[in-house]
Symmetry: C2
């Protein structure tokens, strides 16, 4: 897999995929940056870079990084505290990347993606996340409702984000182990996934536009849930 973009490539060199990063390519201009120069990239022209990574958004640098290293879903269930963000059919790579970046910044344990009808962690997602996916734990599951059921059995509380009809998001006492479930742009949570949630929460809308962008909603909810830092208080003490 060829990843591209300044932040994406730089974070890949110090993140979970670092051992798999092989050859780097850069334009002569981009290669002047210290972090890149010391890696001795192959110098190529912009057009050649665009051909290599298949996108004009390379910002002068790309790298052969191997496949994205997904983690096992079990790794996101076991612990005694923390926030996991579960995405139900998020299809836009920009939104997926933005949510991963916010999750990494907010200090979430990781992100879970449903395998079907959803975006994967492609190079475009890596770039949109500013390289955050190189540090973040991302897992894929075949069935998100089953994952939520397992997480609840392991002691987590599951909160689904609903555009309307949820409880105002500041009201719940979220506890130490939370799964926040976010639905697809426009359509929201699937019915089975919504039923698996312990509670639905909503961000109050005071304007005339119907909804926040899912990336903005994700950031607001993650920081609300993590505002006091994780606390120790299990579902089944």
């Amino acid at each position: 897999v060829i990843i591209y973009g300044r932040n994406a490539v730089r974070e890949s060199l110090r993140g979970r995929r670092a051992p798999a990063v092989g050859r780097l390519w850069a334009t002569p201009a981009a290669a002047r940056e210290a972090w890149l120069r010391e890696r001795d990239p192959v110098l190529v022209e912009r057009r050649e870079l665009e051909r290599l990574c298949g996108s004009p958004g390379h910002q002068g640098v790309c790298a052969d990084a191997g496949p994205y290293p997904y983690v096992s879903p079990s790794r996101l269930i076991g612990g005694s505290e923390g926030l996991v963000v579960a995405l139900d059919r998020i299809q836009d790579p920009q939104n997926l990347g933005a949510i991963c970046r916010s999750a990494e910044c907010a200090g979430a344990l990781g992100v879970v993606l449903a395998e079907r009808r959803a975006a994967e962690v492609t190079p475009a997602v890596c770039k949109a996340s500013a390289g955050a996916v190189e540090h973040l734990a991302v897992a894929r599951v075949t069935n998100l409702a089953d994952f939520l059921t397992r997480a609840k059995q392991a002691g987590a509380w599951c909160y689904g984000a609903a555009a309307q009809r949820g409880r105002p998001f500041r009201e719940p006492d979220y506890g130490p182990r939370v799964v926040l479930v976010l639905g697809a742009e426009g359509r929201g949570l699937g019915p089975r996934v919504a039923r698996c949630c312990d509670e639905l929460v909503s961000i109050p809308l005071r304007g005339k536009v119907g909804s926040l962008n899912v990336g903005a909603a994700a950031a607001v909810l993650m920081y609300a849930i993590l505002q006091n830092g994780p606390r120790r208080l299990d579902r089944d003490p």
Copy 2:
């Protein structure tokens, strides 16, 4: 000005620019939607639409909407309560659109843009905001530091968002009249603008990536400031 995109055109028909909206164009497929059919759009093919609006992102519809109706900056200074979002050299149309959408959803009074070296409310911004700019009050100023000085004289408190070195954003008691100042992607606030702020606030970063996307940061801060709703408590009682 030709605006494009489903939400952008639909919101323009019920927003501040509505009286100026003239002819509509749509593909036969898009024109089947009820809200569009009743406006009797000119039917054209996709390629013709792309030529009309200069973008492949038209989603089957565009409209002649006249210039964007900026409001006077004074309108955003006078009131006794509310949040104004001031943007210092935000250049990316996607980010400007995302911030405007969140501002409209959160119930901000409006957004102020510096005229120089910054994005304007173009059709691309209108689309990126999902049409929110059609309802939101957006003003332009030649000098943002001067605007902040006037806002402070009128009783508002100005908070600048800083990636680091600010006070944790949940600590301040923001009061009823707030200007939130957000800086350019990567570079942050300009020094003169930062000096004009009463206080700098930061969102805690718990990961390895350097910063949140400015759109995500904007949403988190706006909802934190507006969390209790505007309160009556003037700077100079």
